[in-house]
Amino acid sequence: MDDSHFTTHVDLPVAPSDAWELIGDACALGAWLGGDVDLEIEPGAEGSMTGSMTGSMSETGSVGDPDDFTVILVEEVVPGERLGLRWASASKSPSTVVFEIVPMAESTRIIITERPVPQGLAAITGRLCAVR
């Protein structure tokens, strides 16, 4: 099951501490995810994002949806290094997303890995959605 995932990375012209601010701060996270994130970045925290720059597929790619509602659960926080989230929305089935900060010579790499949530975990995310 370890291979069933999507992964990508981006190299940013900032220090690792600045890169961490872009994912470890809810306001900054929302700024580039394209939604309004209401979430404490601490393990076990539950929150949400309203709006998204992505959504259903069209011929030209994903179409943003300002009304999209995403439930988010913080699974793991290693300050400055790693953030693990689980999320689900009306437009996409549940998945986990892990952001990893990797210092480079003159930049900082953020590795992003998204995995579909297995059956048991999907049920947990389902409870989150149901009580929103």
Partner: protein, 127 residues
């Protein structure tokens, strides 16, 4: 409130099944040659019948192939709909992250530019 979860992960088993190069080759064979039993698949690939059976079971559990009894033999055939679903998940996920990463790059560049514009005396020493 109706839960928005669609039930079990629709793609995890499919993606896992597709992740192995030999299973990809088996799928290609079944796609081009039509339904085959395990012995027939083993005869055209460099692995044992036992290994083929193991791979076919994983493909079957991922919904990528279907099994049908034909006399004393079990024939396997491709179920393309599950492969298409998994491909769509990957396509949409890749497209989503492409857009988010573009926005992340812009935001990081803005912050980098702001720091470069700060007077030297006000800069903070960073790790």
């Amino acid at each position: 409130v109706t839960p928005i979860v669609r039930g079990p992960s629709e793609y995890n088993d499919v993606l896992a099944a597709l992740s192995d190069p030999m299973r990809q080759r088996i799928l290609e064979r079944l796609s081009t040659d039509g339904p085959m039993n395990a012995s027939e698949v083993a005869s055209v690939l460099p692995i044992s019948r036992q290994a083929v059976v193991k791979h076919l079971r994983i493909l079957e559990s991922g919904g990528l192939v279907g099994a049908r009894t034909n006399g004393r033999s079990v024939e396997f055939s491709v179920r393309p709909e599950r492969t298409v679903q998994a491909a769509r998940w990957l396509e949409q996920t890749a497209s989503d992250w492409e857009q988010r990463i573009d926005a992340l790059r812009r935001l990081a560049q803005e912050r980098s530019d702001c720091r470069d514009a700060e007077p030297t005396g006000s800069r903070t020493v960073r790790p």
